[in-house]
Symmetry: C2
Subunit: 357 residues, 2 copies
């Protein structure tokens, strides 16, 4: 029996969130992070798995360790506030792990919003920000409305060109309700994660998803290289403006450096933007939550589109997955499990126990 | 010769921006606005014409006068700051004309941004906000990055339903450069203006643009009633979140009131959001402009998509139209001209002179 057949016959291991967090914390601590920072990164990655955003979960652990080992991610960054105004901070992240820098930024945005009604934290020179929804969700739990943006290297077509000119630049917006509404979306028509999934299954991708390496449209998932922007000029326009209001305000241009092929442009780098609005300073926060719930109810009362099956609110599917996975555990695909096992062996870290095999 | 044939044989009148502004100012003053407010509305509408956004230009004048005459738009509003924090204001607009309320909001956002680094102005209970790009462009001219949002009544499909649940909720983002970059986009796949244009020409619309009145997909422009959201759940999710962070923070819900069919929900109402970031407080503003220009140059150097024809930046087409129309005048379609002529006669206002007929 080949290794593939053996694996195909095995169910994906299922793991509790706590066990997975302990494992991820151990790995990042072993890779050089202070224990508290390692726990923050573990928390953000496992949250993504709990919400069903597996592309931004523990599958990223080996890549993060790579980034540390190649010097792109700084496990012991000297993060510092570079600029501070009454309503904002600009944080120099010193190539910190994204979750460490963005968690700090979220705390600063909340603090500024409590002082000034609205608070903005810009993050300069971080690494992969992970699931942006984590930060806006955290702000919503504190009674705030929040907007988070991330700027990254060019990997999405700029409309009108046949090449990568902008990034997937996600946008997340969250507000409190009985359950928070949490929108978290890429500005590309399809995420890199979905494209990679199609590559693995070999299933044809729809027209309008991606170009091949030569800049020609393709429906062959193996040839697909560069996702197209969402809604053409709208998606790439949003992504361009996100680079401007995030990277350029933070004096850390990503797109131009990379497009010009400078040495700095070849490094893994991201910038972040977290804005919070303190609802209590504009009205009764309880009333705000009631109005969110009222709007949800009104939208759910509309006639359903049979093709879509049901009427979902931003973040609703993630909340359901969170509930089931918190209860039943997180399924880890065999290939990811094997990669984590190999990493655990190499670093001398104990592998997480599975609830099932 | 029938009237239609007569008109078909005539070129559209062309008018200077100044003449059009004087005319619009006279109309709104006659309809009850203080002269200064009338001039602000005229300025914003004619700017849209100059930029080529004719759907948001003087074609709106008769509708605005209707709104005044039916009591929906208040020509002499008692606008007031309802809430003020170090970095924000919430303005009660008292059903002011959108341009009057949004121009005030932009000034307040700039003032707060100068004080606090970032400034947010929320506008409660205004009317049609007109072209959002006007306000962000004005902020960019003052050395600010700006984001503007508008919330309105449901006229766009909420993804997963077959009915209007959210609005076209535009987003505008602008930053300074040699020329400002100005993104101004609806969150629907197509604007109401484009849909109405197809209705007039009778040309088939692409699949995925709109549903008919029964909630079924259609390519017949005359049957098309409800535009679909841009990129499915992304567009309608953005629109929903814009309602939350604009209308619900301002305690003036629009979507739920309308979906529930309350008396208030049947009135014409909008809310607005203008945020400004003072670039000078985060770095050298000259360097920021240079970086914007550098990024534009890098994107324009990418291989062009022959189908698109050329690589455009957000707002670039509008800037070109602005230049040519500032020089050569604004063409006014015959039907719009006739409607404005009838309004002028009714109100006893002198019609604007044409540069040509």
């Amino acid at each position: 029996m080949s290794k593939t057949q053996l694996h195909a016959g095995q169910a994906a291991p299922t793991v509790s969130a706590d066990a997975l967090k302990r494992f991820a914390t151990d790995v990042f601590a072993r890779a050089g992070m202070p224990k508290a920072d390692a726990a923050v990164v573990a928390e953000v990655l496992v949250w993504a798995n709990l919400r069903g955003v597996d592309t931004h979960g523990v599958t990223r652990i080996p890549r993060y360790v790579d980034l540390i080992e190649t010097g792109e991610m700084n496990p012991r960054p000297a993060m510092a506030v570079r600029t501070e105004t009454a309503a904002s901070v600009l944080i120099e992240a010193d190539r910190a792990a994204g979750p460490v820098a963005m968690t700090r930024a979220t705390a600063e945005a909340l603090r500024k919003a409590r002082d000034a009604g609205v608070g903005l934290a810009l993050v300069r020179a971080t690494t992969h920000t992970a699931a942006l929804g984590y930060y806006t969700f955290a702000a919503a739990r504190e009674g705030m409305a929040a907007i988070a943006l991330a700027a990254s290297l060019p990997n999405v077509v700029y409309h009108g060109t046949r090449a990568a000119g902008v990034s997937t630049s996600p946008i997340s917006i969250a507000v409190p309700g009985r359950e928070p509404l949490v929108l978290d979306m890429a500005t590309s028509v399809v995420s890199m994660g979905k494209l990679n999934q199609a590559k693995r299954t070999g299933e044809r991708i729809p027209e309008g998803w991606a170009l091949d390496k030569d800049g020609n449209p393709t429906t062959d998932p193996r040839a697909a290289q560069i996702p197209l922007p969402m809604a053409g000029p709208k998606g790439s326009g949003l992504s361009l403006m996100i680079e401007c209001i995030t990277s350029l305000i933070a004096s850390n241009p990503l797109l131009a450096e990379s497009l010009e092929g400078t040495p700095e442009g070849r490094r893994h780098r991201q910038n972040g933007f977290v804005m919070a609005i303190d609802l209590a300073q504009f009205g009764d926060p309880e009333n705000f939550r009631r109005e969110v719930d009222r709007l949800v109810k009104a939208l759910k009362s509309l006639p359903v589109d049979r093709d879509a099956g049901e009427i979902l609110m931003p973040g609703e599917r993630g909340r359901r997955t969170f509930e089931s996975r918190s209860r039943d555990g997180i399924p880890i695909p065999r290939a990811v499990y094997d990669e984590l096992q190999a990493l655990a062996n190499r670093l001398g870290v104990a592998m997480f126990p599975s609830l099932s095999r």
